[in-house]
């Protein structure tokens, strides 16, 4: 094949707000009707405050009608064809500020400030829709269920099973734990076990952050400094908590956190797990682990490298693990590579050996999500970027 197979491990899909109503249990319709204008107004304010209108207007102009691919399958296939992408992992929040599930069940998934029952209702509405959306084209669409596992574990486990039975390939969990039991709590074992046994990939995605006061100077600077840390934070609860030790087949994907700092995180955890004199007074916290933190990372963790992928990411691919890095386009978010994915790939990956490109552009994703590579190659032969462009 003279083209590369591309699997984007960071795509976003979501209905226009009002259309989530059809996927909600009817008992939540009244609450939905009440919340919709509030959600619209909050979105408008956030956009006004955070998303500079000149930036956004220009971006929308460039994007044209491609944005409707957030919910329209035929537009989506046309757009990703043009972008050279054969398949995508689909997170919620299609267009960040316009297509989030209701009741705080979008990417942020904060376990505070919202009624858990309503948040679950919003999550289920999205899960039903995304399952339907993926069934339209199961080869190209790798869907994730939103699972609010910090609340009742039995309820969360039922949703995980529903997701698996309905063709979804993974779950998105809240990275921020608030005052809920953290991810090193044994009560979550049944969820990790089910995901491990059934090949469901557990995800966090950047974006969620504490409630900064955005009216204060530099708050956005604080956000951009911390956002990747918050998304990655569950990892050290899982690693030191012995979860990957107990469930060696569990797969975890960390998405859109940028890559250059990940080797630092691995070094930090390894150093912290090994220092003796200075941590002697804290007792033994390592004997339940048989490997170094970075070794669990390389066995159990994948990086959905999108949006912020640049020369810096290419430079550290071996330090992260060449079998752990997966390309993503972040379509249809403005910070991603779409609609210039091929040009960005060429700019940032030129000169990388072909076998490494194959791993990062799709091979690792095929392994992580257990994809049907033969069917995907048929698509790639038609729309994938030509290999010679990267030589």
């Amino acid at each position: 094949m003279d083209r590369f197979l591309i699997v984007s491990t960071d795509g976003h899909a979501g209905l226009p707000m009002e259309r989530y109503r059809d996927y909600l249990d009817s008992k939540y319709h009244a609450a939905f009707d009440e919340a919709l204008p509030i959600q619209r107004e909050m979105t408008r304010q956030a956009e006004e405050f955070l998303l500079l209108s000149d930036f956004n207007d220009k971006w929308r102009e460039d994007a044209g009608d491609g944005l409707a691919g957030a919910w329209d399958g035929s537009v989506r296939n046309r757009v990703i064809d043009a972008d050279g992408v054969a398949a995508e992992v689909l997170f919620p929040d299609g267009i960040t500020e316009m297509n989030a599930p209701p009741f705080g069940a979008g990417l942020a998934l904060k376990p505070w400030g919202i009624d858990p029952e309503l948040q679950w209702a919003g999550a289920r509405a999205h899960n039903r829709w995304i399952a339907e959306f993926c069934k339209e084209d199961p080869v190209r669409r790798i869907g994730l269920a939103i699972v609010l596992m910090l609340y009742d574990v039995d309820e969360a486990l039922r949703e995980v099973k529903w997701a698996h039975e309905n063709g979804l390939k993974g779950i998105l969990i809240p990275p921020l734990m608030g005052d809920k039991d953290a991810y090193n709590h044994p009560k979550y074992y049944p969820i990790w076990e089910y995901c491990a046994e059934n090949g469901l990939v557990v995800h966090t995605h950047s974006g969620p952050s504490p409630d900064y006061d955005y009216t204060l100077p530099g708050a956005i600077g604080v956000f951009v400094t911390e956002f990747a840390w918050w998304a990655a934070r569950p990892l050290w609860f899982l690693i030191f908590g012995g979860v990957f030790e107990k469930f060696p087949k569990l797969k975890f994907a960390l998405t859109e956190v940028s890559e250059f700092w990940i080797p630092h995180m691995l070094e930090l955890m390894d150093v912290r797990a090994s220092v003796k004199h200075t941590s002697g007074k804290l007792g033994d916290f390592r004997s339940h682990l048989t490997m170094k933190p970075s070794e669990y990372f390389r066995r159990n963790v994948w990086v959905g490298a999108s949006a912020l992928f640049d020369e810096g990411s290419t430079a550290v691919r071996h330090e992260i693990g060449i079998e752990n890095v997966m390309w993503g386009t972040d379509y249809p978010h403005p910070e991603g590579s779409w609609p210039h994915t091929k040009e960005k790939m060429e700019a940032y990956l030129k000169g990388v050996p072909e076998n490494e490109l194959e791993l990062m552009l799709s091979g690792n994703a095929v392994n992580c999500y257990d994809l049907d590579v033969d069917k995907l190659n048929v698509i790639a032969e038609r729309i994938g970027p030509v290999r010679s462009a990267f030589a």
Copy 2:
């Protein structure tokens, strides 16, 4: 001089719990008498749970009566003489688990779970005592006041002024902000301004962390992975908040966070402050800054490098800034270099050029705290480590 002048920028001092009573306003005596047995019991439980008794017993045996230097000035001078140290910056929590100020006013300084009035009473009791302790030997003892600046700013400012008027050289502030206004809030300007104008150094010190559930597996691993981040976190609120831009003479010291990861933190902030495409949708958050984050760091921030100082720290001294790293012994904490400071210095600093050693061992501290180097040299000539040992 054939010996080095050593200034330890991380020492701890504190009274045996019951003796703080004499430094409390009498209206808090009843609350103190009620709290004392509870504090003792919590300390005992924490020690039982976290501080393995075999580790601690052995350490106490080695330490002998040197531990009384936590509150006894003559013991302290004898001990630091033997350790080769001419002067020390003094944080609270003399022996971590036995000499903390009352009412949660020890190192942790959590702005939750304690009545602010009582916490202030505990902080003032310590401040009165440490001011007295430093006046006994003002050349060798560099005292810090505990300032609970997340509560009422006017009250905090009064304490800062009291500290300056009573010979203290800096303040220790809470690194964890809880739900209080963060350090990028303009309401704190009067405190930064007073500190900048009067040369008071603002400190955070590692140790404070969120309320992990220590009964869960791996909780200590999470703590050791995160503790330095929590201590350093106020920095990016100050940097991106424009505080160092507005108060260019403000001095900030970050203490006992280990050093090897600091260049990563600087790189992270610089990258975050410079990326354009991916953060375009977030609007402008940089135009109020005239320098890169790492440049503010090198101008305004010092690192109290103690306890975890090792080959890794020596290796990154230039990446942090050779004029920003200050040695510390962490006496009398078990994780520090005392009573083997000279041996550790030789092990970790051997081969470092002499001018760089001078900066890290005392020169930078002399500049940061504006110390009387002539008087200190008289002491160093008697007790400092001989220069030839590092050649």
